[in-house]
């Protein structure tokens, strides 16, 4: 097990700067998720940890030791690639055993560890098959067994669930989580699926274009996103972002006005989660243009002078028909305020929305 530290890590491919400078600490035994849109540098960070890419600058520390130049094979890192990367010419048994061949493990012990790893991920009865004779989920388990068999000090999972169907993804999610808890190995999960990140990880690292936007618990990211990007990236259905204006201690969002103290005048972006909005007699006038029953909730999309607004209502009864003219009210206490220029959220401690009166 290991404590991982990135100290101003930088990665360039020729002139392309992929990671301009990353600082990050991952504690021993922690399960963190690296979340971000495609191409933001998640895999690149992972490959630097595995020793596949050499950082262009900065220090990479494993338990306080600098490992920048340590070869991949000497790092004892287990990695599961997005494509699984099983060795197609070997049986499942040989695949799982492969990492032990370079460790001078006695034959009997190697056999035992292979069997244990296989049993751990429940592929023991597939030992003599080739990877091409396995389903996607089975291949994924074999890849996991191969990563675990060497007792890695760090487990890296690069979008391991993205090729699986929805049900299998759900089961594997719980299985991996349980396994990690049992083994206590420091684990980094790369994903661009926020649900995967929020359900599995202790902490989420949200990345954008090579930079860390926010690190925090799933709740932190959802309820207290530090930037407009995080607010927009986390949450499904996505947050509503409306444009507002503050002048003389009043926040105006279209026709709606709410008193606001502690903030200077200027344009602001207002983040409103769909579940924090409700239809009523007061608020922003809107017309329902789309309804999406989602099981226990119903998502309405309404057209308003402020743009499209998504409203989530619990219950399975469709209460508002398409075309209905109504109004949408929001609760100021659940309002997120972002500076338009920087995209940063204003800390709730610094401003005060009048929560007693509904914005009207």
């Amino acid at each position: 097990m290991a404590r991982i530290e990135f100290k101003n890590i930088e990665k360039r491919f020729d002139d392309v700067v992929v990671i301009p400078g990353m600082d990050l600490v991952i504690n021993d035994g922690e399960f963190v998720a690296l979340l971000g849109p495609s191409g933001c540098g998640k895999s690149t960070s992972l490959f630097m940890l595995a020793g596949i890419y050499l950082p262009s600058g900065g220090d990479l520390l494993f338990d306080e030791h600098r490992v920048n130049e340590v070869e991949a094979r000497d790092r004892n890192v287990g990695i599961v690639f997005q494509s699984y990367a099983l060795y197609p010419h070997m049986t499942v048994r040989d695949n799982i055993r492969f990492p032990l061949r370079f460790k001078k493990v006695p034959d009997a012990e190697a056999k035992r560890r292979v069997r244990e790893a296989a049993e751990l991920v429940q592929v023991a009865e597939l030992m003599n098959r080739r990877p091409s004779q396995l389903s996607g989920g089975q291949q994924q388990r074999v890849a996991l067994a191969r990563a675990l068999v060497k007792d890695p000090q760090l487990l890296l999972l690069d979008e391991p669930l993205s090729n699986l169907d929805a049900t299998l993804r759900l089961t594997m999610r719980t299985e991996i989580k349980a396994l990690q808890e049992r083994l206590g190995v420091t684990t980094i999960l790369v994903t661009h699926d926020q649900l995967e990140a929020t359900t599995m990880a202790d902490r989420i690292i949200c990345m954008r274009e090579g930079e860390i936007e926010q690190i925090g618990s799933p709740d932190d990211l959802y309820l207290r996103p530090e930037t407009l990007f995080v607010a927009g990236f986390i949450g499904s259905p996505p947050i509503n972002i409306l444009h507002g204006q503050v002048d003389s201690e009043k926040l105006r969002v279209g026709e709606a006005v709410a008193p606001l103290v502690g903030v200077g005048n200027g344009p602001f972006s207002i983040g409103l989660r769909p579940e924090h909005l409700e239809f009523g007699d007061s608020g922003v006038p809107a017309r329902v243009i789309q309804t999406e029953p989602m099981g226990r909730e119903i998502l309405y999309v309404a057209e308003s002078p402020l743009g499209l607004i998504r409203v989530l209502e619990s219950g399975s009864q469709v209460n508002h028909r398409i075309g209905e003219e109504t109004r949408i009210a929001f609760d100021p206490s659940n309002t997120l305020l972002f500076e338009e220029a920087t995209g940063r959220r204003l800390d709730g401690a610094h401003f005060h929305l009048n929560t007693t009166a509904r914005a009207a």
């Binding site: 494509s83 060795y87 990492p99 061949r101 460790k103």
Partner: protein
């Protein structure tokens, strides 16, 4: 309105679908027949020709050539082949199949020898044991051919060994270099990589025999004229670019994650290459092996230009001079027998590697 169209669909609609299905069936059947007819028409002349060569080598006399044995043989062997094939499909288990095949084979052999036995002889194959095989033909050999007169024939085994050396050594070098170079080109970026790839393809497009004169001069300068090593190196140079190209295609199909995974699993670069990458390109390696071996085995122009001493003869030269020497009163059995002997190694190579060569055409060679 929607309801009426819905109701009227099944009656007219169903027969419509049936008609379409029937047409598709007809087309499929027709194209199957056409395909087999085409394959038979295309391959029959080659098969019959080779079969004729074989029968000639066991039956022909001197100075005359005929199809006396060919047609009766075909009449006996074709039904036998069909019978073997049908029995293979009909037999219930392996045991039954083998017994049936044995009976059919035994019957065919007995029939064949009782009908044609007296016309068969092994005289054509005397060259295998007797280097001086031409003694029999001496009466018709003109004495003015200096270096390759009848007595100047080396033992066929010398030619065989020379050919084996040229083709084998060439293959080993081509495979080694192509598998390493192909790997490098597939995995690493370097200046002029693409121009180099393009140049390798273009090089392959040139008729290589245009190089005979310059190569002759070069070999003479470096003292490798009339040496097997010299010819072998020439063949290596000519075969290599395309072999590298083919190997690169196979390496391209190996995902780099698999390699990275091996590195992370504790293998060194070399171990990764040998244990993980190479096993995934064996088909390519086999294809390159077969093609370069056969190229070396069949090469004639470079051999005849660069090799002079008769102890340096390769099988292609041997074949040629046997045909030449017998030009006045051709010993057809001998010529055919040498040809059969010459063809056998290529045949073995193809048969053994056939499975892998087929895979190559299926999995494709990517640029």
């Amino acid at each position: 309105m929607a309801a009426t169209t819905m109701n009227s669909m099944p009656s007219t609609g169903q027969s419509h679908w049936d008609r379409l299905a029937a047409r598709a069936r007809m087309q499929r059947r027709f194209s199957d027949v056409a395909l087999y007819a085409f394959l038979i028409v295309v391959s029959l002349p080659i098969i019959v020709t080779y079969f004729w060569l074989l029968t000639l080598s066991f039956s022909a006399g001197r100075g005359e050539i005929n199809t006396d044995v060919l047609w009766p043989s075909l009449f006996i062997l074709t039904p036998a082949l069909v019978a073997l094939w049908i029995w293979g499909a009909v037999a219930k288990d392996r045991r039954q199949a083998f017994i049936g095949w044995g009976l059919i084979l035994a019957g065919t052999i007995i029939l064949y020898f009782s009908l044609l036995g007296d016309q068969l002889h092994l005289e054509g194959y005397r060259f295998l044991v007797d280097p001086d095989f031409n003694r029999l033909n001496e009466s018709v050999v003109a004495g003015d051919k200096l270096s390759y007169s009848a007595t100047a024939f080396p033992s066929v085994w010398v030619a065989f060994r020379n050919s084996l050396f040229v083709a084998g050594a060439q293959t080993v070098i081509v495979c080694t270099v192509a598998s390493l170079a192909g790997y490098y080109i597939s995995r690493f970026q370097f200046p002029l990589r693409n121009s180099m790839l393009r140049a390798m393809l273009v090089l392959h497009a040139f008729p290589t025999y245009t190089l005979v004169v310059p190569l002759f001069i070069i070999l003479w300068y470096v003292g490798l004229l009339d040496s097997l090593v010299g010819v072998m190196l020439v063949l290596v140079g000519i075969e290599l670019p395309f072999a590298v190209f083919i190997m690169k295609g196979f390496y391209d199909a190996v995902p780099w994650e698999v390699e990275m995974s091996a590195l992370a699993d504790g293998a060194t670069r070399m171990q990764t290459y040998v244990r993980v990458v190479l096993p995934q390109v064996t088909n390519g390696l086999i294809a390159v092996t077969v093609f370069s071996f056969i190229r070396g085995w069949e090469e004639y122009i470079f051999m005849v230009t660069f090799l002079i001493k008769n102890t340096n003869w390769t099988m292609s030269l041997y074949m040629f001079f046997v045909t030449e020497e017998n030009s006045l009163g051709i010993d057809f059995a001998l010529v055919s027998a040498v040809a059969v002997f010459y063809v056998i190694p290529s045949l073995i190579m193809y048969t053994v590697a056939q499975k892998y060569l087929m895979q190559m055409s299926v999995s494709g060679v990517k640029g």
